[in-house]
């Protein structure tokens, strides 16, 4: 009788371990997939910006300062790729600010705004900014629920042993929290 009770308890514990392990794996995978989505969008932005800079430069010879700032921010962001959420986040935030400056610049020059290439690039860049924001939102939500799961009792008892460490949020400074709004008329 006692043997059966012990056996029963062991079976329950093993089942619980399996469920906990699988749950953590699922949560971590979702967060990792979400991270790779952010990566795709960041890379896309890095590729798009030189095009926009070139088009603006061709259309007009002035406003060099804004253009230089954008190019510098972009290069810094490219260099930060793979450095982890914290560093990449800071560089990307700076790039967002610079890009927004450029998009604002485009807005204030009617001849630029009318340029079809610029229009198209503007939509692409706006969308990429949004995609970064939305994939970041989904990544952070995923990381959040994963972290909560691994810290919750009783999963917290075994999460460490299984090698499920905490994951890092991808944060950008407070002013960058909102989806950049670029008026497209």
């Amino acid at each position: 009788m006692a043997l059966w009770i012990v056996l029963g308890i062991v079976v329950v514990i093993v089942l619980w371990l399996i469920a906990t392990y699988n749950g953590l794996v699922g949560g971590r995978n979702q967060a990792q997939t979400a991270w790779s989505q952010i990566d795709v969008q960041l890379k896309r932005r890095h590729d798009l910006i030189p095009n926009l800079v070139q088009v603006v430069k061709d259309a007009m010879g002035y406003e060099q300062e804004t253009l230089t700032k954008v190019v510098q921010a972009r290069n810094a962001a490219v260099a930060a790729v793979g450095a982890g959420p914290a560093q990449a986040g800071a560089a990307e935030a700076a790039l967002t600010t610079a890009t927004r400056g450029l998009l604002g610049l485009v807005e204030s020059y009617p001849q630029l705004k009318a340029n079809d290439n610029v229009k198209q690039l503007q939509e692409e860049l706006t969308s990429t900014e949004n995609k970064i924001a939305f994939s970041r939102q989904f990544y952070n939500d995923s990381v959040n629920s994963y972290n909560v799961r691994r810290q919750s009792f009783p999963a917290v008892l075994v999460a460490g042993q299984f090698g499920f460490g905490p994951m890092e949020l991808f944060s950008m400074p407070e002013s960058e929290r909102e989806v950049p709004k670029v008026a497209l008329r």
Binding site: Q30, A34, Q37, Q41, Q120, E123, E124, T126, S127, N130, K131, F134, S135, Q137, F138, S142, V179, K181, L184
Partner: protein, 326 residues
Amino acid sequence: MAETTNFVAAQAVNRRNTLILLAVLTLLAALIGYLIGWVLVGSSNPGYGDGPRGVPANSAGLVAAALMAAASVIWSLVSLAFGDKMVLGMSNATEIQKSDAPQLYNVVEEMSLAAGIPMPRVMILETEAMNAFATGTRPGHGTIVVTRGLLEKLDRDELQGVVAHEMSHLANLDTRYMVVVGVTVGLIALVCDMALRSLRWGSFSGGRSSGGSKGGGAATIILIVVLIIVAILAPLAARAVQMAVSRQREYLADATSVQFTRNPNGLISALTKLTEAAEPFPGVSRATQHLFIVNPVKEMTADTSSLMATHPDLAARIERLRNLGG
């Protein structure tokens, strides 16, 4: 519920309401199956109601209830397999690539990232009316359809709100949900109709041949009257529940839309424009009306937001979105 102030709570409330409604619907279907099995087998059984001989009639009720459940499952599976092909075939929408409408395509891509689900197909329906719908019964095989009128008259934020609403239907698996609800309701209507027909037929043949039995006669007549009443009322009740589920899912999709965009103003402004336009939609049947973001068949005014409306009143939806934003 109008005082709900965040989308997480709104989603929880909606999920719970939908579950309750589904349970009511299932119970109704099982009850009808049971009653019909009982009465039909019982009334053609001369000894019905005479104590122990009434028992087989009861088990016939259970069998009928089980048959209802089985038929419902099979019908649901078939609908789930072919449902979205049929809907898309009926609607005449054409699939687009990114180059055809870059902004729309981008917005859909953004929302699929926000929802964390695979990119659905994007289609445009060539009509001036402003509307949109989503279909797809498997995750990763969704389709979002918007009308040309919608695309032309909404700005980027508004379009994003509408697309987010449709993406919510896909993410919450509403399309699948409504198929199952629709099948159950259809089955209830079908079976009640069959019961009424066979009862008419049965009362002339079986009823007369069993005229010799006296004790069971009165009980059988009472049961038949009950069945007739139930068979007439049940399809209406089931339909009302289906519409209630549909309205709950619309509220849920509005709330989830805000979770994705974190910007209730886009959808509010889009819904306001849709209210103002409110032109009926040519070529849409009642069979697909529940799919759209606003009801395409009839104008949505306060008095159409009744028991039989697929969608909540637009003003009520805007009101709830305002509360989310506040």
